[in-house]
Amino acid sequence: MKRILISVVLIFQISLVHAMEYQKLSAIVIHDPWIRTAPPNAPMLGLFMKIRNNTNQDIRLVSVQAIGYVRAELHRTINHNGIMKMQKQSFMPISAQGDLDLKPGSWHIMLIGPEIVPKEGDTSMIYLEFDNGTTQTIHVQVGKGKIMMKHNHYTY
């Protein structure tokens, strides 16, 4: 009887830990990540996605690591009186219950110094770290992006 009781308590605890982990992970959801296809000698590539924050707290994306690249940086392109300025960011803010769109001409992750420039259809492994202590690993495919494929257009 004692053994059964211990087993039940253990199962309950494991389930609780899993539930807490799941809740923690689903707090941030990454939608439609893509790396823009680039020339074979491109020194850097752009990584885009939509980041969903399902929590009631503002969250920051604070760092990115990318396998196969020298480094990854957080950037934002700003149109300042017609001059397109590339501004390095120390973090990207995702508001509580909100989304942040990383897209051409706006917020984006710069993948610098690819060992080999990936071709269309290849994937890169990316680690995202947030200031709430969570991390996410995503496999991102290289392509022209949904928007480009549809011939619709984004704005700067």
């Binding site: 000698n41 491109a42 950037h75 001059i83 011939h151 257009h153």
Partner: protein
């Protein structure tokens, strides 16, 4: 009809004729400007391109004569640009496809001149530019000449470097510290339509909308 009335009538008819003639000779392209969707007529006979002598990605001389006798769509880029320049080149690629699909009589030649010839040699440009379209032409050359050439376009660029975690701007024409190896470039991102006379005819600011640009290019070329 009195003599005075006759004179006034003749003067009125002549003035109307002069106005119509002025419009038809397209000297100011006012009638065209009103129909354009995403571009601006920049035609200005006082703004001529300086003499320049650059080199294309096939190592051939690229000077003023290369704009003569054909339409050219020109932009300025640099290959270390992760966002804006690839977007411009993709837009140009899309625009070219649209013009070809429409079966237009004149498809301009697409040319991209680098802001950054130090890193963008003709070899680098050839691999980079032809990724977007095999017929796109990249142009490199002497930095001073490129700096002179961009002036009549109203094009601007500046280098941005990081010193002790802070961003420092180096305006074009100003030398960079020798220790700097990594820099990005802030720049305007217009496309320009060059007429067969080798003059700046029209400009397309961002955001670039290829379908609307194709409409304007057809209109601009047919009314030149």
């Amino acid at each position: 009809m009195s003599k005075t009335t006759l004179l006034i009538t003749v003067a009125f008819i002549v003035s109307i004729g002069v106005a119509v003639f002025s419009t038809n000779t397209n000297t100011d392209y006012q009638f065209l400007k009103r129909q354009l969707k995403v571009s601006h007529v920049l035609h200005n006979t006082n703004k001529v391109l300086p003499n320049f002598s650059l080199v294309d990605h096939n190592q051939h001389l690229f000077n003023n004569d290369r704009f003569k006798g054909k339409w050219t769509l020109l932009t300025f880029i640099y290959t270390h640009c992760p966002d804006v320049c690839p977007t411009i080149l993709m837009d140009m690629s899309m625009l070219k496809s649209i013009l070809i699909q429409r079966g237009v009589e004149t498809v301009p030649e697409f040319v991209a001149i680098t802001f950054d010839p130090k890193r963008d040699t003709p070899e680098v440009l050839k691999t980079y530019i032809t990724h977007f379209d095999k017929d796109f032409l990249g142009v490199s050359g002497d930095q001073t000449q490129i700096d002179q050439l961009i002036k009549p376009f109203g094009t601007y660029y500046e280098r941005s470097i990081e010193v002790d975690g802070k961003t420092v701007i180096i305006p074009n024409g100003q030398a960079m510290p020798e220790s700097v190896t990594s820099y990005s470039i802030n720049h305007t991102a217009w496309l320009y339509l060059i007429s067969p006379d080798g003059e700046i005819f029209a400009g397309f600011p961002t955001p670039h909308k290829p379908h609307n640009m194709a409409d304007d290019i057809e209109l601009l070329i047919s009314n030149y």
